[in-house]
Structures are given as C-alpha cells and as structure tokens.
Symmetry: C2
Subunit: 359 residues, 2 copies
C-alpha cells in the first residue's frame, strides 16, 4: 500500500514535502511514491540524506501547476503535471492514496475528474479537523462547494460522520448542523430544510443527529461533526486560524512592551509551546477530500515537513481503514430511510434526485 | 437628547442595566429614560445610590419579554413590554435612541415595525465592531438576515460604510466583501453578483470598495468594513468569540498544570488583562441595528454594566452624529450611479427593485 505524494505542491515544495515524506517512511514505515521533477526530487532526497532509503520511489512529472493557474486551465493543458500524474497512479492502483499541498482548486478538480465520485455523492467535500476543548471536531464542507443544495448537506453529514467514526475512532459520532441558533426552528431556508432530513436519518440511526449548533459550539466540541455549506465553513475555518494568530500577536506585543511580562514569558515558554502545538493546524495533517472514489488528502499551502509527515500517515490510514466502504454503505442505508412516502413535493424531489444518483 | 434604555432586557437585568445607565449619566452626562417595571427599577437605582441623580427618568412598562418568546408572539401580545414602550418613545420623539440587551429577535422585529426602515432599505442589519490587529473592523450583517438577496448586500455595504466613517471616524473607509478567496472571481453565485455592484459603487466613490476579503482578513483589519450575509456573519462572529474563549481556557489549564507557569502567570497578569480588555466585546458596547428610521442599539444578552455604559454612549453618539442622514444621502448617490443602462436583465432587475423602494 503506497501513498502517492505530489512533491511539487505547496509554498515550500519540493524541500519540505520531500523531507516530510521521508520522515513518514522512517517513522511509520509508510511506502511512498514521490511525483514531480525527478532531478529536483533527487536533489532534495540527497540533501536530507535519504537517497538510499528503501520504500521511496520517484515518478517523473514534466509539468508543474502554479498557485494561480485556474482549475480549468490545469484540467485541459497540464495533463503531465504532478497532480494529474499522481492521481492517475491512484486510479490505476499503483498507489492507494494521494497527497498534495498544491493548488487546492486544481487538486479538487483533477481528483473529481480522474478518480470520479462515489455512488450517491454529487460533489466531493473537504473536511477539516478542528481542535476543541474536548478533543477534535470534524467540520465539513470547508470550501469545496460554496453553493450547496439540500442533498449536498445530507451527503456531507454521511461522509463526515463516517470519517469521524473510522479515523477519529468515535463510536456513533454526534452530527451538528451549523446554524444561527440552537433551536430547531433557527436557520436559513436551506438549513431548515436540511434539518428535517438529518433528523429523519438520526431517528433511524444512520447518523447520530445532535441538532443545530452555532459558531460558538465549534471550539466547545458540542458535536463530533459539524455540517456546513462550503462558504460559511470556509469563513469559519479561516476566522479560527486568524483568531489564533491575532491572540498570539497580541501576546507577543504585550511581552515585548513590558519587563515584567518578559520575565513571566520565560517561565511560561513550555506552556505557551504546548498551546501552540495544540492549536497548530500542521499537527492535524491535511484535510481529506471526501466523496471521491479513492483517497485524496489536501495539505495547507504553507505545509511544513511535520504537516506533510502527518498527512502522509493520514492518507495511508484512510486507505487502510477503507473509509469509502463505510460511506457507500451509509448512503445505501440512508436511501432506505428516506423513502418517498411523504406528501411533500420538495422532499420527494430531493430523495428522487438522491436515488437517481445512487442507483 | 435622551437615550431610552430597556431596563428589563439581558441576562443580568435590571441590575446591570440600571448600573450601566447610571454610569453613563455620571461619566458622560447622558440623559436616560429607563423603561421597565417601575418598582424594580427604583429598587436598583436605590441600591446603587442613584435615586436622586438628575437626568434619569423612569417610564413604567407592565409586560416583560422573555428570552424564549418568539418575535411574532411579542409583536402581537406584548405591546406593553419594555421593548415596545421604549421604541414608541423614540418614535414619538421623546427619546433620541433606544438600547436593549434583551431578546435580539424581538428587538429587531419591534424596531422594524415601530420605527420602520429608512427609504431605500429593505431590511435592517446588525453591525458588529470587531477588534483587529490594526484597530477595529465593522462587520455587517451578523445575524439579522440569514437569507440575503443582492440588494440586501448593497444596502449593508452603504450602511456599514456610513457607520464606519461617522462613528469610527474613518475617512473613506475601505469596504471588503466576505468571500472564500481574495481574487475577484472567487465566491458563491450571489457574492460574485454582489461584487460587480460594489465595484460599480466603488468606481464612483459612493463607497471605497476594496474587493473580496476572506475569514483570515477579519483580525488582520484588511478592510474597515466587511460585508457579509447574516448567516456567515453570525458564524464568523460566534466563532471569533469562541476562539478567544478557547485560547483563554487552554491558558488557564496550562497555568494550573505547572508550577513554573503559575509563577510566569503572576508576572504576566497585567499583560493578560490588557489582552482580555482588547478582545472583550463588552468594551465595544452593543451592536447597532442599521437601517431603521431611528437609532437602535442591541446589546449582548450577557452585557454587564460596563457594556451597558458604552452602549448608552454609543446610542447617544449615533443620534447626535446623524448617521441616518448620511445613509439616506449615500442611498440616493448609489441610485444615481447604478443607472439602468446596461444590457443585463439581472442587473436591471435589481436596480429597478432598488429604485422602487427608494423613491
């Protein structure tokens, strides 16, 4: 079982990517295929003293995807990029999972085109693992789908719930629906519609539906999974990252500005380091693109070697634990539950569409 | 110029509200009318030694709005509540502005019904003043409108920009549109449409349009104003508050868990207090409900006397500085700019609707 790594993707590629992949090989015994410019990749392997390490293959890719290339451009004219080549290796069964910290739009578009989606899934979605006061919460979608329909939310709930139970090892994870208030009646027109479907799935134990959650519940860990459209989810994710940055900037300014604080900070260095580690996204690896027929992990553009190492491990684990099998099974179960027997044209319409895509 | 204060609204009413109102009278010389249960209000005034303080009137209101009353219930059957009575005082010109930390939905619904909206404004919106690394940013809407149309966003931009220039005293405040990426082409179907209208208004100096911003720009203070639908804005606001809470919880845990950290924390107490003060929402007073024909400030349910004091001052300043005059003027200017001369039915449709409401 090999993890295919896009050696050319990310702000610090190929250096940090190669370093992180090598660390995963050494630390976890993962087998990797590095895809990218062969010469550059070899040079990086040498510079971290890993040219003779076993379990590392290199596959050459001529083209390179830039951060500002548009997904359509890449789909059409960069078929020999490391992203295309790497995903093809997974499609052909050479690799079990793919990781890239490159252009997110490009990875999503190529993964959807090359790997295709699972039966019953219209659109893949990105799940982010967020640190909370109780542990972690999986938020999905965080940016793959900015305009969502009811059926997309249902699919996000099923996929993220499966992810939480298999990867975060939570038994019967609770699923919250992001809204503007906890009460059942709160929400936008679409989240109110989604609520009813999730409630139905919850009543039948396809998922463990908790009800509405709010922005403030994210760090409280009120639910194991938070289902949200890709627009609000993206805003929530980036606001979270930014809030952490803001607090640390204020802390730095305050420490600099007074002698007493400087002394205090020296005593607190270990504590502050532990907090940073807890809140740091690189410790949580990349974000899985759920719903594609294969395993695909998307890294933060600024991923360092630690983040790459964790992401490669994550990619391997996802493939090994057969997450997609569980998603497929849950989709079938949900179809059984959401039978068209209601006198509600909206409901019937959604379920019919859902059925057509699944069968 | 008197500020009407809902003495019964908020988790700590009437005590903290009365205390805060008294503080505003003493500190800023504001004149206030306290609306609520006369006996209870008198008792609170006595207990903070303010029964003989000048510039405090009491108006009795029989009914009380509970936090879980629905807005429709309140509109119909609680016409003698402190919210209704207080807003009527503003409508009749007895008071210049209204403040309540009570049930937000009720305050919004009553304000819209009693004060009505300004010409050209479909729906009032809540603006929140967010602390940033550069100072403050005004985010609008943060929850009044969870389902927004293009014309709502345009109105939010004009109202929040006027608010920023008058209240935050920013000359030509920059207006950012919340999206999922900085590039012009990024966004949902609706934000992409809004982008074009804001760009047009920006080209004509009705507003100073900065372009798209992302969640991570909020605390960076990239723009003075952030325009967003009430759903994502509410999520962003609550995630921000929650992130601050999360960091402070982690800090407390770390300080408790090690002797060295405890010593360090003692030295850092003043610095940590300054950070708390900077990030604390109570220091920024309440959130204005922009777009109603009158001044209405909504406080946080958990508002303490400090938050109430700032909110009363804010209410007074908004009335004195004639914010609504500027909003009306900008709406007229924007109509001039968004002339229907384009070969675009969507555009024409929005502008026509906008025009009908304004003239």
């Amino acid at each position: 079982m090999k993890v295919v790594v896009d050696a050319m993707g990310g702000d610090f590629a190929p250096r940090e990517v190669v370093k992180g992949a090598v660390a995963a090989v050494k630390e976890y015994g993962t087998k990797v295929i590095l895809v990218g410019d062969e010469q550059q990749v070899r040079r990086e392997l040498e510079s971290c003293g890993a040219s003779t390490v076993k379990n590392i293959e290199i596959v050459h890719a001529e083209q390179q995807v830039e951060m500002d290339d548009s997904p359509t451009q890449i789909l059409r004219s960069k078929r020999n990029s490391s992203i295309h080549t790497g995903l093809r290796l997974v499609k052909q069964g050479e690799g079990a999972a793919f990781f890239s910290a490159g252009n997110t739009g490009a990875v999503m578009a190529c993964a959807k085109m090359i790997l295709k989606t699972l039966p019953g899934i219209d659109r893949p979605a990105i799940a982010a693992v967020m640190p909370t006061i109780k542990g972690t919460t999986v938020m999905c979608d965080v940016g793959a789908n900015v305009d969502c329909k009811v059926e997309n939310y249902i699919q996000f709930a099923i996929m993220a719930s499966a992810y939480s139970s298999i990867v975060m090892e939570k038994e019967s994870p609770t699923v919250g629906l992001m809204s503007v208030g906890e009460e059942d009646v709160k929400g936008s027109d679409i989240t109110k519609a989604v609520f009813k479907f999730l409630q139905e799935l919850g009543n039948s134990d396809v998922i463990n539906f908790h009800g509405n959650v709010e922005g403030k519940d994210l760090f409280r860990g009120t639910s194991d999974v938070v289902v949200v459209d890709g627009f609000s989810g993206n805003v929530a994710l980036k606001v979270s990252e930014s809030a952490g940055w803001y607090v640390s900037q204020m802390l730095k300014d305050e420490i600099r500005s007074s002698f007493l604080s400087k002394i205090g900070a020296i005593f607190m260095i270990p504590a502050l380091k532990r907090i940073k580690k807890k809140a740091d996204h690189s410790e949580y690896g990349g974000a899985p693109l759920l719903g594609v027929n294969g395993v695909c992990i998307i890294g933060h553009g600024s991923a360092n070697s630690t983040a790459v190492k964790y992401s490669v491990k994550m990619a391997h684990d996802l493939a090994e634990k057969r997450l997609n099998d569980l998603i497929e099974q849950k989709i079938v179960e949900s179809l059984e539950v959401l039978k068209v027997d209601k006198d509600d044209s909206f409901w019937n319409n959604i379920v019919e569409k859902f059925k057509r895509k699944t069968i």
